[in-house]
Amino acid sequence: MTSADTDMAISSRDAAPPRPRWQVVLIRPETVTFLLLILAAIGASWLSPFFADIAYILESFTYYSEFAIVALVLTMVIISGEIDLSGASMMALSACLFGVTFQAGFPIPVAIVVSLVSGALMGAFNGILVIHMQLPSIIVTIGTLTLYRGLAQVIAGDRSIGKFPSWFIGLDYRLILDVPVPVIIFFVASPILALFLGTTALGRQIYQIGTSPIAARHAGIRVRQIKMGLFIAMGVASAIAGLMTASRLASVRYDLGTGGELQMVLIVMLGGTYIFGGRGTILGTFLAAWLLVIIATGMTVANIAINAQLTVLGLLLIFSIIATNAIYARTQR
């Protein structure tokens, strides 16, 4: 009881002067992301004339668009104070289910429905383990990451499932106003989710849950339902991303999207979302996705092997959590 007394006493100091407004606006992790994005763009176009070509960048983006779309939803999951590392595995399993259903003779729309439903179920399974069994999401989704990809291997073996009808494949080659469809999807999804997170009451509640789940519950916010919704959304988004990948590659295999969990987490962290929840924006994730594409494509243009690029991705991940933490720790006081 005295510990509570003292805490109260400590907090009963007089109001500290607020930080100047320019600091509030400018010292944000998203600003860092934005500056890095500009630097990367300048550096890359200096490196190679390819980068002056918007079409080239847009085309490069299609390779990352699937992970970037899942990262948008993952942003919300992390803001709510949880995490889901199983996204890439959910992509693989739902895509394999799609492939198997199609191979069993069902029409594509049925297979799409199967894949979306499976995504929702996988997300719900994560949610049940985290919310109802009260297990830490970070470890649970390490487990389901292995489980879902393992199941994908079980149902699809190591063969590629393909021969999809031509209208389904090659999503990345279809252009609307010269922009590939996967990029369009990302362009459409980002503002919708940004609006949802930034301007709806539900979006606001996600921040509140991530800031203090206990206070959120006391304020009447339905913490468990909202978190469950986010896990399911994560599953559905992964299923959509899985279908997009299936269309782009014209086939599915159990190893679809391997290593995607790193890229998803990297995009979210690079976008300045706080690993401990309560802070972050879709805008940050949106910018970070482009930053990643430019860096990765830049490395490819510079002839750095895909595998060696992991060095930079890993460094970026660690750097971005340290930087984000530092910025929030500074502005918190």
């Binding site: 007394d5 007089d14 009447g220």
Partner: protein, 518 residues
């Protein structure tokens, strides 16, 4: 192994008291919670520290044990001045604090918990398991308790965990053992065992500081008692020389600044009624009614179950049995959101964890419970939100620099006003306020009393939980008293005095402690 300079226990000097404190003052962020305390503890005495919540007794104990540093003042052990910068230093000086819920390593065995962290020996030195178990068993025999020293701490009852802590104090040869409300979670039989051990330790010449609320226990066990009030030491005397009436008077005897709210409210229909609410281990068979316009106080000591009842009513930890009625209709409340839609509001005791969203703006904090009002069509209408927040700030006179300021930058009083503002926006009929003025400056407290009075005057029903008796006496139309999970009194305004409330609140050790603690 540790870096701080080792302060060895000074050589005994029989003339001086074992521990003497001089001019101990403690401030937390400018607020004095302990003022100029001089106190001596003799070898071979059991010394009670008494006082209301926040009187300073626990803070004093924690300074002695190195948990807190005094702002001013000195400690001397056997007449030699000592520094107690941290609990490890205290341990080395032979001072051990036993927390009410002992700090332990739940996955490790009892024997290991006894020696863990004792710093002698090389890091790669062998752990002498056999010797450790033998010593631990010897210690348990010495204490006369039957605890299997090979089982993990996790499986032990609180009482046994305390025994292990006491054993640990003995193992490190502590001469001063501080027990912070050790009996609260114990059954009567366990209390007796504890007392027998405490007496034996005293007879060996050790000193025990015993912090408790239970006068019977103090009388049964302690030789001397020191009474704290509002951070001051008011009296130290032999227990035998103090009557119960004396002690209670000294504990609460501050000049009560009577606060009377001006317009007494019209008392209307029953707004909230609770019947036979029970939750195993927390409270049992609680019934109460609060009428519109009425302020009902809920008094009791910390741990009496008041907060648990409030949490049950509001759906945070619903009761296992019992019936809640709102406005005459029987209702089921499974979640706080259910309670809110029924017109209930709850200001929690633990403001930092359960009240505020620390890093979010004041504005977002104020509007947190009314998503439908700020976002009529799902989208937040900034204009409406800002207007509501500004209105609240004006109405409750919240002092802030900007609505966009993180609420953690505000003072405690202004944070609490923001929480109150949050609930006012839900337009509730029933307010449950749990220690609403804790950690709030005196000046702002008066504002809160006005607000609470106004709320009642506007026809709201108010259930006010407070540990400050003068506050309850001044504000309430009726005071309910809880003790050890049960309702022990329902006092009208005329019947309620500091003495009558305190008498109902102090547990009658042994009567029903068993049922609650089991």
């Amino acid at each position: 192994m540790t870096n701080e300079p080792v302060t060895e226990a000074p050589a005994p000097n029989t003339a001086a008291p074992l521990l003497s404190a001089r001019g101990i003052t403690k401030q937390f962020a400018g607020v004095e919670v302990l003022r100029n305390v001089d106190l001596d503890f003799q070898s071979g005495e059991i010394h009670a520290l008494l006082g209301e919540n926040g009187a300073g007794k626990s803070t004093f104990a924690k300074i002695v044990a190195g948990v807190h540093l005094p702002t001013r003042g000195t400690l001397a052990l056997n007449g030699v001045p000592v520094d107690v910068p941290n609990p490890i230093a205290a341990q080395r000086l032979g001072i051990t604090l036993i927390h009410q819920e002992p700090i332990s390593f739940p996955d490790m065995s009892v024997a290991e918990n006894l020696v863990l962290g004792r710093t002698e020996g090389a890091l790669l030195g062998r752990v002498p398991w056999a010797e450790m178990a033998r010593n631990a068993n010897g210690m348990m025999d010495l204490l006369g308790v039957k605890i299997d020293v090979t089982v993990p701490m996790r499986g032990l009852s609180i009482a046994d965990q305390q025994m292990v802590e006491i054993a640990r104090a003995l193992a490190s040869n502590s001469r001063l053992i501080i027990m912070d409300e050790p009996t609260a979670p114990l059954t009567p039989v366990e209390v007796e065992t504890l007392f027998a051990i405490a007496r034996r330790l005293r007879d060996e010449g050790r000193t025990i500081i015993f912090i408790s609320h239970r006068l019977e226990e103090v009388r049964a066990l302690c030789d001397r008692a020191t009474i704290f009030r509002d951070g001051n030491l008011v009296k130290t005397d032999d227990v035998a020389a103090l009557s119960d009436e004396d002690i209670i008077r000294l504990m609460i005897g501050r000049p009560v600044k009577e606060y009377l709210h001006k317009h007494r409210a019209e008392i209307g229909d029953v707004a909230l009624a609770v019947e036979n609410l029970s939750s195993a281990g927390l409270f049992e068979d609680i019934s109460l009614q609060v009428r519109r316009g009425e302020i009902v106080g809920l008094a009791g000591l910390v741990g009496a179950g008041r907060t648990d009842v409030a949490r049950a009513i509001f759906g945070i930890a619903p009761a296992e049995s019992g019936q809640i009625t709102v406005d005459g209709k029987a209702v089921v409340i499974r979640e706080p959101s259910d309670a809110i839609s029924l017109g209930l509001a709850f200001v929690p005791e633990d403001r930092a964890a359960a009240g505020i969203f620390g890093s979010l703006s004041v504005e977002h904090n104020i509007t947190a419970a009314v998503p439908r009002r700020i976002a009529p069509r799902g989208f937040i209408a900034r204009g409406i939100e800002k207007a509501l927040a500004l209105q609240s700030v004006d109405k409750l006179r919240i002092r802030l620099a900007s609505l966009r300021q993180p609420i953690s930058e505000l003072s405690g009083g202004n944070q609490q006003k923001s929480i109150l503002a949050r609930w006012l926006l839900t337009e509730p009929d029933v307010f449950i306020l749990d220690e609403p003025t804790r950690g709030i400056d005196i000046g702002v407290k008066a504002e809160f009393y006005d607000m609470i009075g106004d709320l009642a005057a506007s026809g709201r029903a108010i259930l006010l939980i407070s540990s400050e008796l003068p506050e309850l006496l001044a504000l309430c139309d009726r005071i309910l008293v809880m003790s050890e999970g049960k309702m022990t009194a329902d006092l009208s305004r005329a019947e309620a005095t500091q003495e009558s409330v305190m008498r109902a609140a102090v547990p009658k050790s042994g009567t029903h402690a068993q049922a609650v603690a089991a």
